[in-house]
Amino acid sequence: MVALKSVVVSNPSTAQALSELARAVDDIDVEPRLVCVFYDADHDDSLIFGFVRKRFVDAALLGGTSCGGVMSEAGLGGAGSIGLLLIADADGDYGSAAVRLGPDASDRAEQALHAALAAADCAGELPELIWIYQAPAREEAVIAGLRRVVGDRCPIIGGSSADNSVVGNWRQLGPEGPMTDGLVVAVLFSSGGIGFAFQNGYEPSGASGIVTRVGHVPQNGSGVIAKQSARQITAIDGEPAAEVYNRWTGGVLSEKIHAGGSILAETTMYPLGIDTGKIDGVTHYRLVHPDQIGKDGALSTFAAVEEGTRIYCMRGDRTRLIQRAGKVAAAAAQALPGGSQNLAGGLIVYCGGCMLAVGEQMPQVAAAVSKSLNDMPFMGCFTFGEQGWVLDRNVHGNLMISAVAFGR
């Protein structure tokens, strides 16, 4: 039997927040096998880690910073919030492990997965779900490493830890403590079954072009030049990428096209889309969020793009971003064995960029998710990159919403 509980407190002082958290946790009768903890980046990680480790000695642990706090079935936690999701499941197995990513993120991810499986006492077994939380920047390499072990035989879902003002102050929390360049991997063998969904709230606006040049990609000295893939798009259809993209967006970047700099806020409603396949002729897209205009009109992005890929200009609006969260949560609950009636709770990853764009209407997002999950306990974190399963494949994308539903 699986049972979930969520606890959220909001207080700018970490010590006071933890003291409130301790009181709330004491009122809950649950011995979790997995503890997820997400918090506003202004909090002190070591205090949070100390509290969680001491209070839940035997539980697998995964977490990290979340842009602007967390959300739960109680609503939006807001600035200064810390959220705990406690998953109790006497008949299941759970384990987590953490690594610093270092120069070879794929290798490190593979090691972390094996370590998490060993921690769950399930070495060599295929988990039902792999849940990851990591530092932004090397998500594709992390997924590649994990896929070396499990392929696409089980879903890999998670998010990239986020700070409050995109200045690199993001951290990850694993069983050994906090990290700034880390990856935490949790493996879940739930006795109640798991449902999941990974979607976005954007539609193509009509414009598209071919990526004709990407930024320099080190080849690890192998001498083999594979198809280039990088987080910098230098040219689209042979023209400086930023100029083409500015045209597509109707000139939202005109003021920064020459000066360069961060364009995260301007581009949240106009991300780039990559065709991930068709269902009955209708295309599905993975999103890539451009975040900077660099030298010579190059665009930096939060996900890698391969040279020769056709990219599409996408368009979103607030209403869709609000409604979509509820729809993704409902889809995950529906995918459970036994459907949404078997729901024990959920875990939501909502893009931090979308959260900033939705702004003061964010409580509606929390309410939409809560309604879709039948008011069962859930925890939502806000991230700078999302990982999930699209058309039978594990991928990394931006501006996405990922939901995991746990069966009873």
């Binding site: 006492d121 399930c122 070495a123 060599g124 077994e125 295929l126 039902e128 072990v149 499990v150 392929g151 035989r153 089980c154 709230g201 539609e203 193509p204 606006s205 009509g206 414009a207 598209s208 072009g209 071919i210 259809d237 045209r247 597509w248 109707g250 000139g251 269902i279 009955d280 209708v282 599905h284 056709r310 368009r315 609006d317 869709r320 729809k327 889809a331 995918a335 064995p337």
Partner: protein, 629 residues
């Protein structure tokens, strides 16, 4: 549906549901076969032989091994059954993994693992992906292992789910079979098997049929047709008709989805009534059906049947007290001359249906090689158009609007031209409709706005800052609020919104949705002008004109052509003119091509502005400003 987002969502949900149903039906089938195999053998036979035969293909595995504890006490495990005879009788040490399985867990391994506890047998040497499931055999704990070959990938979560169902049922079956069954136990098992069989049949039906009409769905009709065609002897004739209801969207929009659904059910029933027992029908998407006529002797006989179907659909449908009229456009392809399999026949019948739709809506077209060529030309044009958009081969041309009396330029209509890589200039008639169907118009409009934005200072220098530029917006574009917000914002950002008019057809104002309530106020607020294009050809609804504010009425060329010789057109023109005057809209005559037409307009009407080849042929902007755009 609101848009691609909702369509995508519906498709994903449908695919998931059908996938789930098919999987469940497959699982139920497997469980039944395996259960039958266990229950039907008498005491001397090996109950596992039939079970293995049922399991191995479904799990796509090469070996199955059943291990049980040697005694009721815990200890090493013994292989009591396997499809690999050399393994039977082998002894296995119960390690951590096997203990978990014996305790009730189902698990599958990653591909390269230590196979702890395995005996040293040639048959088992090396790492193989394995799926373990608990299996109670008589009074002992046991398990079944399924192994894949070394070069195969591992099992996935779907296999684990299926193994869970099988494990439970098989343990029950074995327990009941080997403990001398009481009558009640025997009855319970029989009942279980019957329930499973009924559930399998129900699931199979649901997975294969459209829930609204009860007709075979897209994948099942394909399966049925291919199965039928595979057994046809040479000389047989079969025809596949593709039927698309005409203007079904309007029924949904006007009467609502409930009525639309009832109409689809009515259509399905009427089709059923018209076909023979040997024919087949399937519903392959919203308003698309496939009918297979099997067999037929002569084409004349087939034509008569298809025409009868078409005529039946045109009779009114009585739905909730109302008579609803519809029709179906039909295309027909013949087996074997037009294709040997379902996909080819459907694609050719679809092409013929498309011809019906565009030329003779509500009738029937038979596929022909010439139509096939047209289809591939259309596909080629589609490819070229997509490339043209990404290569930005669309260019702006301007056609002057002039004062009829003085020929002074008062503005321009912005027109699109496709200049391909060979320099050939294609007029809109050659590509615009298809571009609209392909959803490329928004991208083309973006390019038009880009070019106009860049050229405006140079155009100002030639024609003055007062010249007005009219941008064409299709009805489909006009009802997309986000797109129109972008267009309006882009023009407003130029700082000169008063120099631009949006030319909209009457259909835009009629369309249900948000145009009149959201988009029109947006255009007005930004200071752009509104022109009603092609006036006199569409609905020309006075009620609509009363509700909207527009600046200009453009009288369609069909009314202007030879106006001096056509008294009826003259009367209509007078009415439009007076309408324009009373609503304070300027009236402009399109398609003025002869001096006689101009003379009539000047001397017999109050219309002051005209546009047409008599004054100016559209000219590329790059030629007007003398530099590339």
């Amino acid at each position: 549906m609101e848009g691609a987002e909702e369509l995508r969502e519906t498709l994903v949900a449908m695919r998931q549901e059908i996938g789930l149903l098919r999987t469940e039906a497959k699982h139920a089938n497997l469980l039944l076969e395996a259960l039958d195999a266990m229950l039907d053998v008498d005491g001397r036979d090996d109950p596992f032989a039939g079970v293995f035969a049922a399991l191995l293909p479904v799990f796509d595995c090469t070996a199955a091994i059943v291990l049980t504890e040697s005694t009721a006490q815990r200890g090493p495990l013994k292989c009591i059954a396997s499809n690999r005879t050399s393994v039977i009788g082998s002894v296995w040490n119960s390690g951590r993994k096997l203990e978990k399985v014996l305790a009730g867990r189902i698990l599958t391994t990653l591909s390269a693992v230590d196979n702890e506890g395995w005996p040293d047998l040639d048959e088992l040497r090396g790492s193989q992906a394995a799926l373990y499931l608990p299996l109670g055999v008589r009074d002992r704990r046991g398990l079944m292992m399924l192994l894949r070959a070394r070069d195969q990938s591992g099992f996935d979560r779907t296999h684990v789910t299926l193994a869970r169902k099988f494990s439970l049922l098989a343990s029950h079956a074995l327990a009941a079979k080997h403990a001398s069954q009481t009558e009640a136990e025997s009855h319970r098992l029989k009942h279980l098997a019957e329930e499973l069989k009924a559930s399998k049949e129900a699931l199979t039906f649901r997975a294969n049929h459209d829930q609204l009409t009860g007709l075979p769905n897209r994948s099942y009709i394909a399966e049925l047709v291919n199965r039928t065609l595979a057994h046809k002897a040479p000389g047989h004739k079969v025809a596949l008709a593709f039927l698309d209801l005409d203007d079904f969207k309007r029924v949904n929009d006007f009467y609502g989805h409930t009525t639309g659904d009832l109409l689809l059910k009515g259509v399905a029933q009427r089709l059923r009534d018209e076909i023979r027992d040997t024919d087949m029908i399937g519903r392959i998407s919203g308003d698309e059906f496939v009918i297979v006529f099997d067999p037929f002797e002569r084409q004349a006989e087939l034509s008569a049947v298809v025409s009868r179907v078409s005529a039946e659909l045109q009779k009114p449908f009585r739905i909730e007290g109302q008579d609803i009229r519809t029709s179906g456009s039909i295309g027909v392809a013949l087996w074997p001359v037009h294709g040997h399999d379902y996909d080819t026949l459907r694609s050719h019948a679809d092409a013929a249906m498309y011809r019906t739709k565009t030329a003779y809506k509500g009738s029937v077209t038979f596929f022909s090689p010439a139509l096939g060529r047209e289809m591939s030309e259309r596909l080629s044009l589609e490819r070229r158009l997509r490339a043209a958009l990404s290569e930005r081969e669309f260019h702006c041309a301007l056609q002057q609007k002039v004062d009829l009396r003085t020929h002074r330029i008062v503005g321009f209509e912005v027109l699109v031209r496709w200049v391909d890589s060979h320099g050939t200039i294609h007029p809109p008639a050659q590509f615009l409709q298809l571009a609209g169907e392909m959803g490329l118009l928004d991208g083309i409009t973006d390019i038009m706005l880009d070019i106009m934005g860049e050229a405006l200072p140079l155009l100002d220098a030639q024609f003055g800052a007062d010249a007005q530029y009219s941008i064409n917006i299709s009805a489909a574009q006009a009802t997309k609020t986000p797109f129109m917000q972008k267009v309006v914002r882009r023009i407003a950002d130029s700082g000169r919104p008063e120099n631009f008019l949006l030319e909209l057809t009457e259909e835009s104002f009629l369309a249900t949705g948000t145009f009149v309530s959201e988009v029109l106020p947006l255009i007005r607020e930004a200071g752009l002008g509104v022109s009603i294009d092609d006036f006199g050809t569409g609905y020309s609804s006075l009620a609509i004109l009363a509700d909207i504010t527009a600046d200009e009425l453009k009288v369609d060329r069909s009314l202007i052509t030879s106006i001096h010789q056509r008294p009826r057109s003259q009367s209509i023109l007078r009415a439009i003119e007076s309408l324009g005057a009373s609503l304070n809209m300027s009236v402009i005559a399109e398609g003025v091509e002869t001096a006689e037409e101009r003379h009539y307009l000047l001397n017999s009407t109050g219309i002051k502005t005209g546009q047409g080849y008599l004054f100016h042929k559209p000219q590329l902007v790059r030629e007007i400003i003398g530099r590339p755009t």
